[in-house]
Symmetry: C3
Subunit: 141 residues, 3 copies
């Protein structure tokens, strides 16, 4: 948690873009209090003939699916705030915005059905979670 699956058309990101975007995403979650290693980002290049927007194959498209597990928004206002926060993370990495379709959505799933390296992560705000943040590593608790 979070898991970002970034589906993009061929060539949209350079290798350096990917590295920098993954780092930026991770920075923002760390600033929100999460251990860095909670953040997993997967890039998935899709050929135009496999990527359709509005029924047409697209040569420049970005569709991001995000799973949030350890933190859930309390209400609509908070969810909208998170959506804007995610958009602000992405903006510096969006080229060709004139012709680009870019879209994301977040799914919130149960923290009770989640494990990292064989452990159920500690509760939000707990002493153990803060140690995981400091160590940037899993440890028994």
């Amino acid at each position: 948690m979070p898991l970002w699956a970034i589906h993009h058309t061929s060539g949209y990101f350079t290798a350096e873009d990917k590295r920098a975007l993954a780092s930026r995403i991770t920075d923002h979650y760390q600033q929100a209090g999460l251990p860095r290693f909670y953040v997993v980002v997967i890039f998935n290049e899709i050929r135009s003939e496999d990527f359709y927007v509005g029924g047409e194959s697209t040569s420049v498209g970005l569709r991001i699916v995000i799973d949030h597990i350890a933190r859930h928004a309390a209400d609509k206002q908070n969810r909208n705030r998170i959506a804007h926060w995610i958009n602000s993370i992405l903006l510096p990495y969006l080229r060709d915005r004139g012709g680009l379709h870019w879209e994301f959505h977040v799914d919130e799933t149960s923290e009770d059905l989640w494990m990292i390296n064989g452990l159920i992560p500690p509760p939000m705000g707990s002493e153990a979670e803060q140690r995981w943040v400091r160590d940037n590593a899993v440890s028994p608790y």
Copy 2:
């Protein structure tokens, strides 16, 4: 929204099949009142050695994962109706149905955690949504 991720074994769809199926899916959501560009379809070819059904690698399989965001079903009857509606969209494109495993499921996620081209899409049935339908494009509202 909707996002259709169509995982299929190698060679199941021709390039023309993919184009036609994506177009057909989009038509059906448009008839249900959504802007065409809301519909994103991604095809993902999987080799038999990476695709297992019932513990056996499969040479002809189809597993579709659909995310619904802007519209949620009200009750069980409505959800079942939507499942049948999705199945009817697929049927004309299913070849080799004798030996085929085809399966789909839909996840419903929050419309408040969703953005297209930097905007939270307008509420269902709003004047702004109708304009997005007519223009088939995002515009500020």
Copy 3:
């Protein structure tokens, strides 16, 4: 249901590993009462340059996304029990555990928005479900 999408770095699993792990996963769900063919496992190899953990590209990583549809956990205790059960399925197939990041989460979605081979699967524990288990095949009910 269940759908296991296993994202792994290049070369982490051999072809034989994949076959054996998919079989083992299926065995466990069968022991829990499900038809074998309900279990779909998809392996997705990801290059290091497309797979980031904590903002760094990773050479040995495993991120598994599981969708549960036909069975939902009743409470937190039950969900944690399922997480441990999943982890125990995986453990024999995890090599290089010293440097490995392995993580999974489960999403629970509606059984009413799900179809296999054109049929909404029968209710949990029904006579029809038991027949599907015995036949390991879909049949009208």
